[in-house]
């Protein structure tokens, strides 16, 4: 309350005399108290919601809390964390899509529950669950089908992560070509969009994809 009053009077005075001295005025504004601090649900509840054991949840939470002491991840922190793993490219777009996928209640921040529920689907779910989650990631506007534009955005973000120094040299239309191949494979009825059923069916027929889905079994 008090901080708000002070801020109010500061901005009032600033409007009055129209002067704004960069030197003396700007520093106080930065000392806003970050009072947002969210605590997750209890361990038992999380154990019910996810398929992780107690110890795994503990390890996950410790890592989560270390990086985000306030208990929630906002999109910028998310991007910063994800970019640490890809030093050569620009992973911010893909991180944005991931953030959208993890933030199930669309409130602009990912809490520990969202985080761990998402992880549980990817790492402990069935293959169908995983494919569903991937579809949800691709479907940017969540309307149940993937259009070529959505896929192109996703593909560009993946290729951006490679960065500039690749071999062979990254061509401009590489993502587009890749999208064409993808649609040829997935779009059964050639209507220009890929629905969830087409997606799952095509993935189940593809040996490589099924095998790569197994990779997530022992990540944790």
């Amino acid at each position: 309350m008090k901080a708000k009053d002070r801020d109010q009077s500061l901005s009032d005075s600033r409007e009055l005399d129209g002067s704004y001295d960069q030197l003396t005025d700007s520093i106080e504004d930065d000392f806003e108290l970050s009072t947002v601090c969210q605590r997750p649900e209890g361990l038992e509840k999380l154990q019910q919601l996810t398929k992780f054991t107690k110890k795994e949840l503990q390890v996950l939470y410790r890592g989560f809390k270390n990086e985000c002491p306030s208990g929630v991840v906002n999109e910028d922190t998310f991007k910063v964390i994800y970019s640490q793993f890809f030093p050569q490219g620009d992973s911010s777009m893909y991180a944005h899509f991931l953030f959208e996928a993890f933030d199930t209640n669309k409130n602009g921040s990912v809490s520990f529950e969202d985080f761990v529920i998402g992880l549980s689907i990817i790492l402990r779910g069935t293959i169908n669950d995983r494919l569903n989650w991937a579809f949800n990631l691709y479907d940017l506007n969540k309307d149940g089908c993937i259009t070529k534009e959505e896929m192109l955005d996703i593909m560009k973000s993946i290729y951006d992560m490679m960065g500039k120094y690749t071999y062979p040299c990254m061509q401009e239309d590489a993502p587009r070509e890749h999208v064409e191949i993808f649609f040829q494979k997935m779009d059964r009825n050639n209507d220009g969009v890929v629905t969830i059923d087409e997606f799952i069916e095509s993935c189940q027929k593809d040996e490589n994809i099924m095998q790569s889905m197994q990779l997530f079994d022992n990540v944790i």
Binding site: L60, N66, F85, W133, M151, I181, N208, I209, F216
Partner: protein
């Protein structure tokens, strides 16, 4: 990779699910956690103080003592803890580094003790975080300067085999080295004093003859003074010439301040000698004699304090400039005001604004001679304001100069802007280094890793595992993640240099190239089990040999496809002759043993040119996959 971020690696790997359905290639095998331990607390006993932390926390930095297996050397079996006989206070900062990812430098800690602890625990000081990095660097610089001073002091012992010239120079610069130097030092000092006193006494009125007015001593005892002057100037000239002779770099010596002072001190005498009794220039001659007073500056060779003062004034140029500028502003303002205020009064001394300058200066410096005083009321009011403000304006920059003096005295000087710039630049440089470090680590381990993967595929024995050096589990998982991305996009991460080269190469693709086959020159196809160990190191060395025309393609082909043969112990000679053999003749290529892995190298699809004698080499490579076994086709 930053500390806490290591805990997010499972998340990053899980996020790779978005790549899987779009990838057209199979993904590489994930590294498995061989000994899957539950996370446990470990106790670190540092000189009696016990610290506890999770094992995972320490594993975040595998290239330090605590993160690697090196700490096992300190394991104490009876107490089941790790004992370190080191300083527990510094260890606190070190352990916090593992926990938070930031290394802080405590200000109360001695810099050399801290450095030693960091070196012991294998942590490089460059990762000290920004909040403490400046302090650390400052302290380190002071320490280095102190060490250098000590070193210089100890260097005064006689060095053998110095030429006469060098001895003389050392004697001039440092009078305490020998007795002769000391004598010379005092003699010149005495003569400087004599010369200055002579100049002063010359002008004193020296008793009067009855019929004449007082004459200065200089005119009364002309000859005596002239002899003194000559003697002094001769000494100074000799000294200057000797210094010039002994100086290691004459040009630099002639440009230095002290030598200029020397020259200015003795020149008037010689000029006076040249042009005597010439009425026109006698006026100028008198002016020149003023310069004789510069001889007093020669004392600065004899006094350290004088030199420091001179250095201070030089370095405080900006503060002095500010002082001068603000004074000028104030003087002009007040002079104008006083002039217009006093304009009305009669017989006013304030005849013009420049004339008022004198009044303003005298008032602002609180001198108050009283030769010019305001008479009107307004003039007196403004005059008092002027004297009050004078005190303030002069008092403001002076402490700054004083503090500068003391700072220089402790040999510590920095400009604020330069410091900010350096910190920014240094921070960016460090970030860049860590980024390239991690991407280089990936590229480097890719070469090793592909080898190990293939080894694992063939189920080779354990002794070859030694190639997998110390990549921790976290690192190998991270590299696997990057590898998956490569497979998804069907492109590879490369080094910046290689990228430049390949870019150039693709521009030159039209030239008839011998490139693809050159790759075989180093005998890839001839590697046998015994030489497998060398494969890992060879690609990195090949990349930097400028003699090969297209080293990069060779390198990258190796990256993408590994040619491994086992069974046959016969080493193929690496000459190109073996590669020119036709498929059925190249015995080494087709091993007779059943358990073998042969990987085909698919050349870069350049059109086989007519003048290339090596073009038939492409088919033999392809044909080599006729033998049984797993064939891995490279992604090229």
């Amino acid at each position: 990779m930053a500390a806490g971020v290591a805990a997010w690696l499972p998340f990053a790997r899980a996020a790779a699910i978005g790549w899987m359905p779009v990838a057209n290639l199979p993904m590489p095998i994930a590294p498995t956690d061989k000994n899957k331990r539950q996370d446990e607390l470990i106790v670190l006993n540092v000189s009696g103080r016990r610290f506890q932390t999770w094992r995972n926390t320490l594993d975040r930095y595998p290239d330090t003592l605590l993160g690697s297996s090196e700490k096992e050397f300190f394991y104490n079996e009876e107490t089941r803890e790790y004992f370190f006989d080191r300083d527990p206070d510094v260890f606190r900062s070190i352990l916090n580094f593992y926990r938070t990812g930031k290394l802080h430098y405590p200000r109360y800690e001695c810099i050399s003790a801290y450095d030693e602890e960091l070196a012991f625990f294998g942590i490089i000081p460059e990762i000290i975080s920004d909040c403490c990095y400046e302090e650390y660097k400052d302290r380190k610089r002071e320490n280095a300067e102190r060490l250098m001073d000590d070193l210089e002091d100890s260097k005064d012992s006689k060095l053998p085999n110095m030429t006469f010239r060098e001895t003389m120079w050392r004697a001039f610069e440092n009078p305490h080295t020998s007795t002769m130097a000391l004598v010379f030092y005092y003699v010149t000092g005495f003569f400087i004093a004599v010369s200055v006193i002579t100049n002063v006494v010359e002008t004193v009125p020296c008793g009067s003859t009855p019929n004449q007015r007082d004459v200065p001593c200089g005119e009364r005892y002309t000859v005596a003074f002239f002899c003194m002057d000559t003697a002094c100037v001769m000494i100074f000239t000799v000294e200057y010439l000797m210094r010039l002779f002994a100086a290691p770099s004459r040009y630099r010596f002639m440009r230095s301040v002290m030598s200029i002072i020397d020259v200015v001190a003795i020149l008037p005498y010689y000029i006076g000698l040249v042009m005597t009794d010439n009425e026109d220039v006698s006026g100028a001659f008198v002016t020149l004699r003023v310069f004789r007073v510069f001889r007093i500056f020669k004392f600065s060779r004899h006094s350290q304090g004088l030199r420091i003062l001179g250095y201070t004034l030089k370095s405080c140029a900006s503060e002095l400039g500010f002082l001068l500028f603000s004074l000028t502003m104030a003087i002009i303002i007040f002079a104008t005001v006083m002039f217009y205020a006093e304009k009305g009064s009669s017989s006013s001394k304030f005849t013009s604004i420049p004339a008022s300058f004198w009044y303003t200066i005298v008032t602002m410096t609180t001198l108050g001679y009283g030769d010019m005083v305001p008479k009107t009321i307004a003039g007196k009011i403004f005059g008092s304001i002027c004297s009050l403000s004078g005190v303030l304006v002069i008092a403001l920059p002076v402490p700054v100069i004083v503090s500068n003096f003391s700072r220089i005295y402790h040999q510590n000087q920095r400009a604020d802007k330069r410091r900010a710039q350096k910190v920014q630049k240094a921070r960016l440089a460090r970030m860049r280094i860590s980024k390239t470090g991690s991407s280089n680590a990936f590229l480097h381990s890719k070469r090793n890793g592909m080898l190990n993967q293939a080894l694992e595929l063939t189920g080779s024995t354990g002794e070859d595992r030694h190639l997998n050096k110390t990549t921790s589990l976290i690192e190998s998982q991270h590299h696997h993640l990057l590898h998956c991305l490569e497979k998804t996009t069907n492109h590879e991460f490369v080094d910046e240099q290689l990228f430049e080269q390949s870019y150039l190469e693709s521009a030159l693709q039209s030239l008839p190239s011998r490139s693809p086959s050159l790759s075989s020159q180093e005998g890839i196809t001839g590697t046998c089990c015994s030489r497998r160990a060398k494969r890992g190191s060879r690609p990195s060395s090949e990349a930097h040999k400028p003699s090969h025309m297209h080293p990069h393609t060779h390198n990258l082909q190796e990256l993408s496809a590994i040619h491994i043969q086992c069974g046959e112990q016969r080493t193929l000679n690496t000459s190109r002759s073996s590669l020119n053999m036709r498929p059925d003749e190249s015995g080494g290529l087709n091993c007779k043993s059943s358990s073998q892995v042969t990987t085909a190298i698919i050349s870069i699809p350049t059109p086989p040119t007519n003048n290339s004698p090596t073009s038939p080499e492409a088919p033999p490579n392809l044909a080599s996959n006729s033998s049984a076994g797993v064939v891995k086709v490279s992604a090229l």
